[in-house]
């Protein structure tokens, strides 16, 4: 009996990370193609509340896995529990959202299960035992369809490529799973978490993103002001994160966050391929750059060749006036 298992993720504040709902939607799609039930795993000190939250999202079974060792996430505590659960329910597909946690955890789970893995999956193809995973390579310059040849298959999904699961339908059955003793003997210990606090929406979840690049020369005031007028998240190119002008967490690109908002405004960003890899799935792209040859204009729906310090306040005033 084939089973698809998706690992849910809690934020440091204990709330469900929204990307989990995108992973649940991906899991449903895969489960349907394979002809298997969808199960979820919730690992936490006290997973009951998260399991309750997830109950109406269409999974057949939610497995709660409780341990004091799960107070803070480390792969060496979580991986043995996920692998033991996957083995006990006979899961042949194990996945999660491609968040920092998912990207850290799933390969370690896959290693335990001797499973091959596909990262940042954007779609599933085929059916039954002949499933293919679509995923970007070379910073999205290539879209590859891959097959995993091992009996158990692991994956992470790119949250922006799957619409979040909607509640409704029969509630999931909740079952408690006793984790193995190994979860309490992690060789890695959590020390501290230095959170970048922001009143703005999370970059990967925002419907509008305003990003700044080298053209800002580190002055993000106008970027932030426009973002706040629009209720948008703030992003950045690699160069400005490297320079320490803005937190690393702002970086959009191949090695940063992948975003696909309905509107992406790139101000003073030249558009290196590594940056484009992180935002070219956006519905509408606006480029503001003084250099008419900047590659960002090749992907922009609307481009304006001008100084961002002139354009951004004017655009903000126009938006404000129309409210």
């Amino acid at each position: 009996m084939s089973t698809v298992l998706i690992v849910a993720e809690a934020q440091p504040d204990g709330q469900l990370r929204k990307a989990t709902l995108n992973a649940v939607a991906a899991g449903k799609d895969l489960a349907q193609k394979v002809g298997a039930p969808l199960h979820l795993a919730v690992l936490a000190q006290d997973p009951a509340k998260l399991a309750e939250t997830l109950k109406p999202y269409g999974a057949a079974v939610i497995h709660t896995v409780a341990s004091p060792a799960f107070a803070h996430y480390v792969a060496e505590s979580f991986a043995p529990a996920v692998a033991a659960l996957a083995a006990s329910i006979g899961a042949d597909f194990v996945g999660a959202a491609a968040t920092a946690q998912g990207r850290d955890l799933l390969p370690r789970v896959a290693a335990k299960l001797k499973a091959a893995m596909a990262s940042e999956v954007t779609a599933f193809g085929g059916s039954g035992t002949d499933i293919t995973f679509t995923r970007p390579m070379w910073a999205g310059s290539v879209i590859a369809e891959v097959k995993l040849m091992t009996p158990v298959k692991a994956f992470t999904v790119r949250a922006t490529e799957f619409s979040a699961a909607e509640p409704g339908g029969a509630p999931a059955e909740v079952k408690a799973f006793q984790p193995p003793a190994e979860v309490a003997s992690s060789p890695t210990q959590f020390v501290s978490f230095n959170e970048v606090k922001s009143a703005r929406p999370e970059l990967t979840e925002a419907s509008i993103v305003v990003s700044g690049g080298r053209g800002t020369k580190g002055d993000f005031k106008e970027i932030e002001a426009l973002a706040d007028e629009l209720g948008a998240a703030v992003g950045a190119s690699r160069a400005v994160c490297d320079a320490g002008w803005v937190p690393n967490d702002y970086q959009v690109g191949q090695t940063g966050k992948v975003v696909a908002p309905k509107l992406y405004i790139a101000a003073g960003i030249s558009g290196a391929i590594q940056h484009l890899a992180g935002m070219k799935g956006s519905k509408t792209i606006v480029a503001i750059n003084k250099d008419p040859e900047a590659p960002i204009f090749q992907v922009a729906d609307y481009g304006i060749v001008a100084d961002l310090f002139k354009v951004l306040p004017e655009l903000r005033a126009a938006i404000h006036a129309a409210k």
Binding site: P12, A111, A116, T188, A243, D249, Q251, T255, Q298
Partner: protein, 265 residues
Amino acid sequence: MKILVTAKRVEDPESKIKVKTDGSGIVQEGLKYKINPFDEIAVEEGLRLAAKHGGEVVVVSIGPKEVQEQLRHALAMGATKAVWVNHAGALDPMSAAALLKGVIEREKPDLAILGKQSIDDDQSQTGQYLAEWLGWSQGTFASKVESLESDAEKAKTPAIQIAADGKSAQVVREVDNGLATVSVKLPAVVTTDLRLNLPRYASLPGIMKAKSKPIEELTPAALGVDATPQVEVVKMSAPPPRKAGIKVGDVQELFTKLKNEAKVI
């Protein structure tokens, strides 16, 4: 301390990657190759740790004889010796991890530092497979609190903090919404994120010295590893192009387009 680092050979990140018309792979003609940028950061961190704590840096690469260029690059940066795992054909993260495990069991380093991902496959898995199969701690996506323009960076201070007793190390990890600090038990696997350091340039004396440094050759068979890939690429294609956009004359026109045409504000 003994530090093992990796040096995968990848397409130059500045090259334009094109897919072959039959979808069987990418067009190789005209491409330049480099050390994976994340691996170069791993080499740099290894050199900084060795400079601070004493010891040696062993660099490993897996692939055909051309990967010796990347090994020589790491040797020119200052690595002590190189191990070349002579392997032709496709390599997936499981095989890479199995081969690296074999090398690590021979070399017995205190720390293995790998790039967090290679810029060709973009899988970001090898370090985690390796850590699990060795039964080691993992500190993935290693970064640091200080910026790349800080004094600590200019002084080439290693970001990975080795404990005084040498039994553990602190790693600052780049995660969603901030930085997480973990203590890993040594030996451990660390994978490098972008802002761990700025790799040094190889000096001319470094390049000259690298020519006489040893490169040990191993094979998957000698390591007892079956390197048959378990990730099989069935087909490659180019991403769908975005339709051509327009340039607008002024902010008012931009605002009108966004409001009435794209309907996004």
